[in-house]
């Protein structure tokens, strides 16, 4: 955590507030935190309520016009906040998506997973923020939805989180995608920061997601259910490309979860997944036929998703759609013969 705090306190832009949420940390971690005596640090302490609860606590404590998140094991380069500040002044965006770096378990450094998607978004935006009711807005949203859901990769205008209220789903650990997708949908001006502003560390020995126990991966089902349900009320759900981007992002995570599970749990997970699809708005079963080339790497996820949608246990779409008038059923005139 020391590295993380150092990277923030060493920013070239100095006018910010650092909200440090102690989520039931152990004594050693608290001692490290107590060693930092910078007037810009505001401390909040809570019993171990999970990452979502900690970030929500931070959101409700925030006072600035914009806010961003950083987990205690990640870092930011010294120029990060200065670059973001520049974009805020030039474009007045609601949401800035950012590039970052990935530090592999062996220490190897490389651009973050979603470089290709952000390249496409940068080309699409062409230096101007995306705004509603302009031709490319939905495409920009779709590309943003396809970006890696990572909490460090965005800067958000605080106001858009209060109307309607948006936070991380409490108690679940795949909270990033939920927040990411709804923030993209809620933002009216979307910009991109061309410079990398965070480094994400994959660490072998830590109990990050990747090493978490089986049952925590089932939380992904709850997140999928919540996200699809919330998203279906938004106009973006009517746009085939946005819908497809959302479903592919979801499929990527769901599939990863399923494949990380021990075999004993996989059938149950698949059942849960079909239940989520059965409860979801049937529009989400219709994926766009033609997608931009940047969707190409998601093809395996799309295949996997289509296989799930073809599961025979999934009731036919017309049976679940609340808007369809049911066809008149005529009574059978004679009992069906058995073979």
């Amino acid at each position: 955590m020391g590295e993380s705090l150092d990277s923030l306190l060493g920013q070239t832009l100095e006018d910010f507030e650092l909200i440090l949420v102690d989520d039931g940390a152990d004594e050693a971690t608290r001692a490290v935190a107590a060693g930092y005596r910078d007037a810009r640090i505001r401390r909040i302490r809570q019993a171990n309520g999970g990452l979502s609860a900690a970030r929500n606590r931070g959101i409700s404590a925030a006072r600035g016009d914009y806010l961003c998140f950083l987990d205690a094991d990640d870092t930011r380069p010294p120029w990060a906040l200065e670059c973001l500040d520049r974009i805020v002044r030039e474009d007045a965006p609601d949401l800035v998506l950012c590039r970052g770096h990935l530090s592999e378990e062996n220490g190897q450094l490389q651009p973050f997973y979603d470089r290709a998607v952000l390249d496409a978004l940068e080309e699409h935006l062409d230096g101007r923020p995306a705004v509603p009711d302009t031709p490319g807005f939905r495409t920009a949203q779709a590309l943003a939805l396809l970006a890696e859901p990572q909490s460090a990769n965005k800067l958000i205008r605080r106001k858009i989180l209060s109307d309607p209220p948006l936070g991380f789903p409490p108690g679940q650990i795949f909270e990033d995608l939920y927040f990411h997708a709804l923030a993209v949908a809620q933002a009216r001006r979307i910009a991109l920061c061309p410079h990398p502003v965070f480094t994400y560390y994959r660490r072998p020995a830590r109990s990050q997601l990747t090493t978490a126990r089986d049952m925590t991966r089932f939380d992904m089902l709850a997140v999928a259910r919540l996200l699809l349900s919330r998203f279906s009320a938004l106009p973006e759900a009517d746009d085939p490309l946005c819908r497809t981007a959302l479903m592919l992002s979801l499929a990527k995570l769901l599939r990863w979860c399923e494949e990380m599970l021990s075999h004993a749990h996989r059938a149950a997970f698949r059942t849960g997944l079909i239940a989520v699809l059965a409860l979801a708005d049937p529009r989400f079963r219709q994926l766009a036929r033609i997608t931009p080339p940047v969707f190409e790497p998601f093809a395996p996820h799309r295949d996997w998703l289509e296989a799930c949608l073809a599961d025979t246990r999934l009731p036919a779409a017309r049976e679940v759609s609340p808007n369809v008038i049911r066809p008149l059923r005529l009574p059978r005139l004679w009992p069906q013969r058995r073979a």
Binding site: P164, P169, R225, G272, A275, L279, V320
Partner: protein
């Protein structure tokens, strides 16, 4: 007139002893060795040498095997009954232990000088005791040679084996919290208070007769005592009464942690003015974060083995937590509870109402002068949340990872009640002592706003935990779920009811798919409008082909979360 010897097996050897011929005494001696003395001595590490005092030695069923197993120890036997004493002396001589075992024909009776009366049981003539009617079943007083407990203290025993029915508490009091390093025996009438254990390291094994309870130190790694966490937010009118009542007849090792949850009124100043100098009280300040966060804050800052949570507008009867702490220590259970009485402030002063508890169907038993009973966990889970009238073992809360969920801003005690209830299993309780629960109009439970949806989120949390932790039975939770739905729905604002029933039906559908059709016997859908059952049937139809399974505990819905519900409603209104 000696009778045939009986072989006693204890401490790794078999010893033939002459008994008095009384079958009860012989069998009781066997039982005592097997159930009390041997298990305790098997566990303790006695030094090579020492002085043991065997009070109520009988014919020597403890003293002789003990002396044989620990050859470096000296034993003093005290036995008032003439027949038993004769057999004892013969046994000592028979085994050639005269040099190491000294026998005296006396009883230890408080205030005794020369002779003192003991009651000889009519049904079991070998049973001599103080006047404990329900144990001896009546009998005649018999004057016997006796000395006072102070004389016993002067023997400075390293190990005291105590069989003095009805006099244990008074005898142990004489040691003034300086008990011998090893204390063994049983207590019958008045359970010796746990404070007698003092601070000196004493190994004690002193069960309370007729129960699995025993005198013991606080469990776990934490230091002994009770932390009372008082969550305080703008409570200037009530906090002084509350703290004053907690200090009346408090247990000596109680510490009060007043957590000021960012009050904007005078309450912290009042606490400091009136109680600031007390060593047993600490005022903690934190930024406002809600009742759950204040309770957790107090827990995180304190460290005693037992903990209780009190609301700043309530009070307790004098000695409330002292009485409960005794139950907690003797029983060692994860939680113990006392009674409660609601009250209202009126211009004429407090008006107390009757306790709504209905536990008359549970069998009672005596614990000294008080009546106690065991509350099975389903009674706790289906009951109204009353978390403040209990004492919890801190190590249970820690090991089960039970906290107040801080993002839940109302009714957070519901989930705490269910989780602690289930994990405590059996909750020892007494109802003569009361927590006093103030009723007023501003309470959460009367608002009828979106906060009712917090209950749905909490029952989902319980469902998920029950699956992960492998709960033996979910029926009581389902029953409690329906009572909560009914109660919340009745008080709910009209425009919120449809969303509430939709969320409730979704969660109920998940519960049914997790536990199967068997859970339906615990359900009470008839308490709710018909739209609940319709919605549940609609969802069920969609999920029908999927069967039942634990995975449904991991599904979720936006109507189960207050913030998402608010967002969805805002979006709907705009459209």
């Amino acid at each position: 007139m000696s009778s045939a010897p009986s072989v006693f097996r204890a401490f790794g050897r078999s010893v033939a002893l002459e008994t008095t011929g009384d079958a009860f005494l012989r069998d009781d001696s066997h039982w005592r060795l097997r159930e009390i003395y041997e298990p305790a001595l098997a566990r303790w590490r006695l030094p090579k040498t020492g002085h043991a005092v065997d009070l109520g030695a009988g014919f020597g069923a403890f003293a002789l095997p003990f002396a044989l197993a620990w050859p470096g120890w000296r034993v003093t036997c005290l036995e008032p009954d003439p027949k038993a004493f004769e057999a004892l002396e013969r046994n000592i001589a028979e085994h050639g232990l005269g040099a190491r075992i000294e026998a005296q024909q006396i009883a230890i009776v408080p205030g005794a000088r020369g002779k003192a009366p003991l009651i000889r049981s009519r049904k079991r003539p070998a049973f001599l005791s103080a006047d404990v009617a329900h144990w001896q079943g009546g009998g005649l007083a018999e004057p016997l040679p006796a000395k006072p407990p102070e004389w016993l203290v002067d023997l400075s025993a390293d190990l005291l084996k105590l069989t003095a029915p009805g006099h244990e508490a008074a005898i142990l009091e004489a040691f003034a919290e300086q008990l011998p390093p090893f204390l063994l025996g049983e207590s019958w009438a008045e359970p010796p208070p746990s404070r007698l254990l003092g601070t000196r390291q004493t190994s004690v094994y002193l069960p309370f007769a007729g129960s699995p309870w025993r005198l013991r130190r606080d469990p776990g790694e934490a230091h002994a005592g009770l932390d009372v966490v008082v969550a305080m937010y703008n409570s200037q009118e009530t906090i002084e009464d509350c703290l004053g009542s907690l200090l009346q007849d408090a247990p000596p090792d109680q510490h009060i942690w007043v957590v000021n949850d960012g009050s904007t009124d005078d309450s912290p100043a009042r606490v400091l003015d009136r109680f600031g100098d007390l060593p047993g009280l600490t005022l903690l300040d934190k930024p406002n974060g809600g009742c759950a966060s204040a309770r957790n804050w107090g827990r995180m800052h304190s460290g005693a083995a037992h903990i209780a949570f009190v609301d700043a507008d309530d009070a307790v009867e004098p000695g409330f937590y002292a009485g409960l702490l005794e139950l907690a220590r003797y029983s060692g259970q994860g939680a113990v509870q006392g009674g409660f009485r609601p009250f209202r402030d009126t211009p004429e002063g407090r008006r107390h109402e009757r306790s709504p508890d209905a536990f008359d169907h549970l069998p009672r038993r005596q614990f000294g002068a008080v009546e106690v009973f065991d509350l099975p966990w389903p009674e706790v889970v289906t009951g109204q949340p009353t978390i403040w009238r209990r004492i919890y073992r801190r190590d249970m809360l820690d090991a089960r990872n039970i906290w107040f969920p801080e993002h839940i801003r109302a009714f957070d005690d519901q989930i705490f009640q269910i989780l602690t209830g289930y994990h405590a299993g059996l909750i020892p309780a007494r109802d003569g002592l009361h927590y006093l629960y103030r009723q007023h109009a501003g309470q959460d439970i009367r608002q009828g706003d979106e906060r009712a949806f917090y209950s749905l989120e909490m029952y989902r949390m319980v469902l998920r935990r029950a699956v992960q932790e492998g709960w033996s039975d979910f029926g009581p939770v389902a029953t409690s779920f329906f009572s909560t739905l009914k109660w919340s729905h009745d008080g709910l604002r009209e425009d919120l009811r449809a969303d509430f029933l939709r969320g409730a039906a979704e969660l109920w559908t998940y519960m049914r798919h997790v536990w199967g059709p068997g859970i339906e016997s615990a359900a009470r859908p008839q308490l709710l409008p018909e739209s609940f059952a319709r919605e549940a049937a609609r969802l069920d139809k969609r999920l029908h082909a999927l069967g039942d399974g634990y995975v449904f505990a991991f599904l979720d819905g936006p109507s189960l979360h207050v913030d998402m519900l608010r967002a969805d409603r805002a979006i709907r209104e705009r459209a």
